[in-house]
């Protein structure tokens, strides 16, 4: 459903041309969970911004369901690494932000928002302002806010990167359960190999400067996955294989 064709991005830094992405081709099928793993500074965030329409590529094209994408739109939802909740809106209002923009009826909005408040376990916090939420809760609201908008694809840019390791594990498990329930197409970016292996169906390993796909791994673990999986030998070996590829 999502196709990147010969995508490239060059920019000038201190008078020098930097080739961040070079002829990248990638396609994501419906209901697939794809993770891109790359070293920090390999342009992962730039790539997601280009797909989301927040930055323009220097060359190449992006297609979603066969249509060429040029501008940002609600069909490509993005969950950021930074906390991006609107601080002046309550949790409920944050989740319905995209729905408010579309001028849906209040009944429809309430149903959708209530559903995602339930899914993300935030019912009791609906009237809280973001400043009163922990980091993990803020990211759950951010995910709910994006999902409520019914995007065709969910783009996630190291969404758990600013969380402590314990919250991070909880959020990974939460996302797996969510994905198993909703089967939302996801393109997930991280530098954490374990995270990618635990969450995704397919893991792409990226090379930096320029960004190119080094290798692709199909994740062999059955669903539903729980955190116990992370302590198995098979998982450890698989994680190691990807890590070696990343460092090579």
């Amino acid at each position: 459903m999502l196709q990147l064709k010969n995508l490239s991005k060059t920019y000038t830094q201190n008078g020098q041309q930097v080739e961040a992405i070079k002829n990248l081709n990638l396609s994501v099928s419906e209901r697939e969970f794809i993770a891109l793993v790359g070293p920090s500074g390999c342009g992962k965030t730039t790539l997601l911004k280009i797909i989301a329409g927040l930055a323009s590529p220097s060359g190449g094209e992006i297609f979603l369901d066969g249509k060429k994408m040029l501008n940002p739109g609600k069909d490509r939802g993005l969950v950021f690494q930074q906390f991006t909740l609107f601080p002046w809106l309550t949790v409920r209002k944050n989740i319905s932000f995209g729905l408010d923009i579309q001028h849906l009826s209040s009944k429809e909005k309430a149903d959708i928002v209530d559903h995602y408040l339930g899914v993300t376990g935030l019912k009791d916090f609906a009237e809280f302002y973001p400043k009163n939420l922990s980091g993990g809760m803020q990211q759950r609201v951010a995910i709910a806010r994006t999902l409520a908008n019914k995007p065709k694809i969910l783009l996630m840019d190291e969404p758990f990167g600013s969380l402590d390791s314990q919250t991070r594990s909880q959020m990974q498990e939460f996302l797996t359960q969510l994905w198993e329930a909703e089967r939302q197409t996801i393109l997930f970016i991280t530098h954490d190999v374990g995270e990618a292996a635990f969450l995704a169906d397919t893991v792409y390993v990226l090379k930096r400067r320029p960004m190119e796909i080094k290798n692709v791994f199909s994740v062999p673990f059955v669903r539903p996955r729980t955190h116990a999986l992370k302590r198995t030998k098979a998982f450890f070996e698989f994680e190691n294989k990807i890590a070696q590829e990343l460092e090579r």
Binding site: L54, P72, F86, W88, D100, L155
Partner: protein, 266 residues
């Protein structure tokens, strides 16, 4: 244990009020000692009693309330006009590419002209009526408000704007549902700071060219060496300023309960 800097929680509620009252009492006693004790001639510093008597006399015989009312009305009009012009300019400067290049030199130029230097021109153009006073206040604070609003809006987090775009917002929606609400607390603070400056320009205008208002009261009292009246008028301006500040502080908490700062300020 030693008291470490920046670790204390500021005073709140009753204790905060007690400090305020204590400070007031200390100042009043010092004033009483030097004035009643005869250390300073009443011509230079009258006694608190004389100032209170002046306030009562001004109220009874000289329409003090009318002077206060007129001064406040001028502030509201001059400041209101400045806000109505400066806030959109500041927002526009911050969100538009060409806006900064076009407007910044103009505003910088205006900013470095002391508004007091404009007063003779305003008097020439608009006469000694209300217009020149209102324009002086307006032009006095306008460039500062525009600059500070520009700064506030320019600090809008890009991530929030990006988030809104990916949630389907168009440019107008990003402006009205993200940039404006996220800037409002800062804009409110800008108004709070600049309304103080508006008083300076008002008194200046009233001292030079007016037959009414608190500034006029100050300058005529000085001409007739009625020092208690001068101090009474200054005290009233101070109280009005304090009230205005309190208004902005309380409404800030009321309007922006979501702000991180809403916790902290009293």
């Amino acid at each position: 244990m030693r008291t470490l800097l920046f670790r204390h929680t500021p005073l709140r509620g009753l204790r905060y009020g007690m400090v305020t009252i204590a400070l007031f009492l200390i100042a009043l006693s010092l004033w009483s000692i030097v004035s009643y004790g005869g250390f300073i001639s009443p011509l230079f510093l009258p006694t608190p009693g004389a100032v209170m008597a002046a306030v009562i006399q001004l109220y009874k015989d000289f329409n003090l309330l009318e002077d206060i009312g007129l001064s406040i009305a001028r502030i509201l009009m001059g400041f209101g006009l400045a806000v109505a012009i400066a806030v959109p300019i500041g927002v526009y400067l911050a969100i538009s590419k060409i806006g900064e290049a076009v407007m910044e030199p103009v505003l910088s130029f205006i900013r470095y002209i002391p508004p007091s230097a404009l007063l003779p021109l305003f008097l020439l153009w608009f006469g000694i009526g209300e217009t020149s006073k209102i324009f002086l206040i307006c032009f006095g604070v306008l460039p500062y408000i525009a600059f500070m609003v520009y700064d506030v809006v320019a600090q809008t987090k890009t991530e929030l704007v990006d988030a809104a775009y990916t949630l389907g917002a168009d440019n107008a929606q990003v402006l009205w549902t993200v940039i404006v609400p996220s800037s409002l607390p800062g804009i409110w603070d800008t108004l709070r700071i600049n309304i103080g400056a508006a008083w300076t320009f008002l008194v200046l205008a009233e001292i030079i060219a007016s037959t009414t208002g608190l500034g006029h009261l100050i300058i005529t009292s000085q001409r007739f060496i009625k020092t208690p009246n001068v101090i009474a008028a200054i005290g009233i301006i101070g109280l009005l300023g304090y009230g205005t500040d309190l208004f902005f502080k309380l409404t800030y908490k009321l309007f922006f309960p979501w702000s991180e700062k809403a916790h902290a300020s009293t």
